[in-house]
Amino acid sequence: MKLTPQEVEHIARLARLELSEAEKAAYREQLSAVLEYVARLQEVDTSAVSPAAETLPGQSPLRPDRVEPPLPRQALLANAPETREGQFRIPPVFPPAGEAPEEQDG
């Protein structure tokens, strides 16, 4: 089964990755090869098997839900590309008025 160019673009959009045409073509080939390889899992009868939800079952005990001092705001903001008034700053979510909105799924 080979991925279509449309499927590659759909996955890239879900993953929020801007890809060049060359990358799309390469990933189409490489991902198709990997998917063909992993398809052998379908031959295993797992009708009576539960999925492995935890790496080591029963290893996640609860702890008291107490509020403790977090890392200082300034320390966390120090790594951000852009901040303002103690917050992360981002460009507009919607394009400026008059321009066609970018298609978003999800």
Binding site: E7, V8, I11, A12, L14, A15, R16, L17, E18, L19, E23, Y27, Q30, L31, A33, V34, L35, Y37, V38, A39, R40, L41, Q42, V44, T46, V49, S50, P51, A52, A53, E54, T55, L56, Q59, S60, P61, R63, L71, P72, A75, L76, A78, N79, A80, P81, E82, F88, I90, P91, P92, V93, F94, P95, P96, E102, Q104
Partner: protein
Amino acid sequence: MGSAFPSLAALQTALRQGELSSAELVETCLRRIASRDATLRAFLWVDAAGARRAAREADARLEEARRTGETASLPPLLGIPLAVKDVLAVKGMPATAGSRILEGFVPPYTATAVERLQTAGAIVLGKTNTDEFAMGSSTENSAWGVTRNPWNPERVPGGSSGGSAAAVAGGLVPAALGTDTGGSVRQPASYCGLTGLKPTYGRVSRYGLIAYGSSLDTVGVLSRSAEDAALLLSLMAGRDRQDATSASLPVPAPRLEGDVRGLRIGLPREYFIAGIQPEVRAAVSAALEVFASLGADVVPVSLPHTEYALPVYYLIAPAEASANLARFDGVRYGVREPADTMWEVFTRTRGVRFGAEVKRRIMLGTYALSAGYYEAYYGQAQKVRTLIRGDFEAAFTQVDLLAAPVAPTTAFRIGEHTADPLAMYLEDIFTITANLAGIPALAFPVGFDGQNLPIGMQLMGPHFGEAALLRAAHAYQRATDWHLRLPPLEDAGREAGDG
């Protein structure tokens, strides 16, 4: 000090007795880095000033304790420099995970594993190269260049903890931390002639580890002996409230006395497949004869679902990676590629700043988790993972430990597998099972091939069975000297000699 360091225990003794100062030790590391790392490129960041300062403080404490006769109560690693893989956060040092998307990121906190070693007196000398976000088996996927194998600079050091492996094998530092999600400690240990410990999942806190596959990630050790690995594990391990999956079981003391008489070692027949380099097969067989001569019983066992481990891993790990790496979007840390809208910032920053292998795995994982494919890919992989874990549980009712090669071959040539991702993935075929099952595994050198490249073997044990692994490997290392062999390193210039 020769071209490599003695054991951590020997360094501790020398420091406490005043035969060696921490400052001398740190200067030796820095001198060797200056001389050898232009070729090896093991380090991404060296904190020379911080290490020198920490060494002065350690020497003051050592001198004071010697004066008052209280050296025995000093922290065990006081004054000993270590290196840390660049996927682990160390406060104040850059952490890039080998990626351009984290360029300039300086974490405001320290990973628990590192912090515990610092509390035990260790000095973090610097950060070592890694495949981007630990995705790779050769360290060729780092955005910051390829690390070379000290045994042969035309060969890869393995990966993804290739920088830590090259740093220890190259004699730049006595030991280093790595991480192992699918073999990333054991395979570079094998390629570089080192001892590499992948602990049980949850044995060592993952807090401060930049996540790749959260159900598979472990923090491990690259060292020159099982004895050193045991000491470091005992200091790092244990419950950490910052990691809900960290185990509260008792931490094994680094006591390695005892022999392997009566130890039942299982040989899973599925790990001795066609395609293994004959010298690897021969060296592992010879090592098993050593274990037999020391009194162990070597018996055949079967892990019937082994052939499915690689496809399971290459669905689960990318699926987890696609979720974990969603946080890198040019907003909170690292670098932002400018664009007009928030959405374009996300896609452009990720598209430009992630490397090819990372994007490949994000795409694969996104596909495996996407609507209409989740059950067939991710769901089925998690069910087969249960069967793989069951194979190990069944085997450990018959034997104490399992033995297998670490990798099908010795270190391959730089560039040999970069064109074919699937061929690179096959390098992980013997190591990923331990991560899928969450069990501990220990790699150690058992010989050399005709090109003078190291060959590694691994022992795998039941959950929290690190002590048995370390004891067995220690018994082997007392009976053999493969782990003491040193690569043929040439130091540039006279100033590099350290007598």
